[in-house]
Subunit: 352 residues, 2 copies
Amino acid sequence: MKLRVNDMPVFTADQLHRLGVMIFEEAGVPSSEAREVMDLLVESNLVGHDSHGVLRISTYVNAILNGRVKPGAKIEVVRETPTIAVVDGKWGLGQVVAKRTMDMAIAKAEKYDVSIVATFNCGHIGRMADYALMAVAHEMIGYCAVNSSPQVVPFGGIERMFNQSPLGWAVPAGKEPPFVLDISTSVCAGGKIMVARAKGEKLPLGYIMDKYGNPTTDPEDYFAGGACLPLGGVVGYKGTGLAMVIDITAGLLSSRGPAYLGAGRGQGVIQMAINIAAFRDVSEFKEEMDNLIRAVRNSKPAQGFKEILVPGDLELRTKKIRLEEGIEVPQAVWDEIVQTAERVGIDVKRYL
Amino acid sequence: MKLRVNDMPVFTADQLHRLGVMIFEEAGVPSSEAREVMDLLVESNLVGHDSHGVLRISTYVNAILNGRVKPGAKIEVVRETPTIAVVDGKWGLGQVVAKRTMDMAIAKAEKYDVSIVATFNCGHIGRMADYALMAVAHEMIGYCAVNSSPQVVPFGGIERMFNQSPLGWAVPAGKEPPFVLDISTSVCAGGKIMVARAKGEKLPLGYIMDKYGNPTTDPEDYFAGGACLPLGGVVGYKGTGLAMVIDITAGLLSSRGPAYLGAGRGQGVIQMAINIAAFRDVSEFKEEMDNLIRAVRNSKPAQGFKEILVPGDLELRTKKIRLEEGIEVPQAVWDEIVQTAERVGIDVKRYL
């Protein structure tokens, strides 16, 4: 059931999904929640963001087994008005909590055109795009961002103050697939550093610093007390500013608190839905989206570039390939999954 | 009345304000609107953003004299719900229109906690921070972004597709001054290139390309068909993604249309107000803002940096200096202002 290409185990999406659900179930996660989490982890692998894929199974299971994350938790709305809500995630699995809270944002925007839901006491929710995209199915623009543990220095600094502060935007188009932006506001996501480490690869210069503030390409330096750099390079004050906006909106509005207070507080989440129909005719809007996407894609590439991609293009292309050819899992990640499975009493060899 | 330091004319804020108001009045602008525009232009100079200061007087007057911008225009709300509005700016002066529309956003958020106002047919509105800050006076988080003419290539491209797509966020603090982020989502604002040109200075490498797509430091290359680069350098797809989000929200939601369709459509504006009190106790929020701002400012600087600045710090510091020492105006900018004044029948020498 398991092929080897480039010395890496390769699996179908379905294999990883089934194995993951089984592991989570054995760790005490209700079946429906196990499936919800694995839907999003496997989707991340499929679209090429291995940083948010099955690599996370082991840390999620650890968090469940040590009691930090509580499967089956019922979220609690602590403040609510027609357009906004503040939600206590009760330390539920991040994906489960964030889907519920995005549903709330969408329901509010259906009635009131724009809405914000801010959530605290929440596990790792994974990729921002997944939640932003939920709004697209309702002809809305969706937004999701989180703060979390401190990993990123401010511009000109060497102390970790901000999280990678990822954000996701999704916008429906007409005949084109939706616009989907999912980026960290640091030079790279923390998960990308985890992937490089798992593969034994170096990072490009300018992504991270070591604990003394020196530039480095070795992911180990990051885990040994180094830090990630803010987006922007010489104008990194822009990345720092964007990270602070997310720290404030996802962290302070939600009452989670700012990133620099540490990882113990989980993820602070902000989600927004904007009802396009309130602003203009939706089909006209979508036609303009198609035109915009095509104009960008068809614009002239620079030397060294074969084509211009629109946010979301690369992910769809990767998904098509991985649905056909399978998902490569770095050996170190796979070994960890096998160990995690054993920890909850599953002999992976029997199932693959 | 006019000193010379570094061979540049220096003026007090008051001198520039009075002169500007006089010029706009003679160009047919109602006094109250002339003052509103000059309030914001001089404020930009005071806080150090000369790119959005009196340098703009001449282009604004040109736009008025050639009939493109219409002083005294009455804006028209073309769509409205309790939380959102779409506004036809009727080609009024950007600052005048954008203050009215931000007032609308604030009034809606007072009642409904979160609001979005999108505006089309609008002149150049200047600095985003000015409007975001209006929300702070109401204990709200304010946001403003615009799209406009195409000046920035997509990542990997050489055709101008997006505007510099500036955005502004402002958040109230307690004892600290408000957090104020005002950045373009390209490497630099278009106005910074105008300032470098006016001063005869070069730009750092990595800011702009010439019309063939080659890196250059000469601002003239930009005006000769070159373009600005997206924020992010090697990860410039992030800057491109952020620019597209602004093109979509400020341009498409407002019906202005995307940047690539050209400058003739003026600025598309999106403004948002978020009522903090809906989410949590405002004084607690502001105390956390103070703590966050201080923690960042007091964190350890990297080699080559004396201190860490929080967005808004540099501007306040510059304002203090310029209120005392005056505002330097590059000779080329000053000459243009004098010519513009003459065009509307004002002999500047008589007034300074």
